[in-house]
Symmetry: C2
Amino acid sequence: MISTMKEFTIKPDPEDPRLVRRVSGVDESGRPVETSVVMERPLTLYLNGQEIVTMMTIGDHPNYLAVGYLLNQNMLRGDDVVTGIDYDEDLETVVVRTKRKTNFEKKLRKKTLTSGCAQGTVFGDLMEKFDDIKLSADAIIKTSWLYTLSRKINMAPSLYLAAGAIHGCVLCAEDCPLVYMEDVGRHNAVDKIAGYMHMHGVSAADKIFYTTGRLTSEMVIKTVQMRIPILVSRSGFTAWGVDLARRAGLTLIGRAKGKRFLALAGESRIVYDADAATVAEEDKRSRRKASVEEDAA
Amino acid sequence: MISTMKEFTIKPDPEDPRLVRRVSGVDESGRPVETSVVMERPLTLYLNGQEIVTMMTIGDHPNYLAVGYLLNQNMLRGDDVVTGIDYDEDLETVVVRTKRKTNFEKKLRKKTLTSGCAQGTVFGDLMEKFDDIKLSADAIIKTSWLYTLSRKINMAPSLYLAAGAIHGCVLCAEDCPLVYMEDVGRHNAVDKIAGYMHMHGVSAADKIFYTTGRLTSEMVIKTVQMRIPILVSRSGFTAWGVDLARRAGLTLIGRAKGKRFLALAGESRIVYDADAATVAEEDKRSRRKASVEEDAA
């Protein structure tokens, strides 16, 4: 049942010079210092000739981001045939072409700003679809997997460790992180994973979704839309996020740090195979990470 | 020059039962536990009969949020006369009426999704105005003020300390926190402060803006739009945030924790009156706060 994909099939590339920039400033003593900051650049998305949106992104996977955004906004359907994706780095545009004709003129007018570290918009009809989605009843998450995933993800080289102020999302199978995406907005990181899954035909029913960010309503809606039955975060919960997870039967695990975690929905998928008392607290490196994690706030 | 406003004229009310809810779940050992989560509820904003947007908010200051949102989107001008604000808790709507007739039909169609923990949208014409804004050249921030502000804000009772997973923004004068707003989205907290300043005629030129969140492009744009010359955060920077701050002459101070901070723009407003070597590292309580701060990520 474990995926045939390799561990970290996609992972952050902190060495990519397009993603991080050195800037100079002063510290608390007035001394000149240099530091790294993550890049953000505009990317304007077109679907079959219609301008949809301009996003701010680090810019590492424009094709996955474009397709994932359209999927997560219900502008692409799961069975849509993508006939072409044209990314133009100079023009900062990406055009997605589909076999089916599309028209979202009306849809683009009505938006809801979601909370939190969010893309900020969901369309009303997302929620209509939400209630029809049935998540896998067979999926499980062993606590030993959860501890292993946290350790592997937190120790992996990342833009976060190099420059801070960035969000990460990871698609996982059992105790294996498969696709690790980062972006200035968490919504982009999620969308890039959705785009990857669609373009590579990756199944969702046996997967676990890990995020560094809060478990807000938007994160829950997107995870359910992607058909992933289990959502894990180092961070905390909001009330509507918990409500929606319970409504969808999503397993919602938050504040997962060291041996600790808290599950507020879908607890029945958790298999307690690790003795929490024997799990070490996060080691120094992870603790350092935790202490700067607020950079991503 | 210090404001006549009292310290913490507005501050979080973690005792307000409408803002936090108790929910039950299980912990890492499978034991049943109860925890607090912050509420988020929809609020649909109308301007003179035109539906503008639906926001997700904790819901504590709908009037300030409505006016601040419209100001920060350039839909209200600084000299606009607000003739009425009708908030209906049951309908979850707020209607802002102005003397001047408004029509943003066209504007509502073209949006840019900004990065990060952001409201997610700015309108193109915000940037046209951005370059015309001149920030106060006389404003200063003493390092002793910065250390005092950090301490006062981090020790103040808040929804953050009660439930996590929430953002805070604070309008300050010298070493005095004046208006402390929290919300599930940082954009809402900023907008509530902008609305408060507009409705109470609070000057911006001598103020300092403190935020718990990242110094993204959107935070910089909003701070400049509010005419506040100094922006401070516990969190990190993004490249476009730094670029925009330099372009506007905004003082941009990030990673402000304990005695440390880093300024990447507008350093000339900083007065080094505190000996950083003598400032204590954050005490236990603040450190605890820092260690869960990622809850707000």
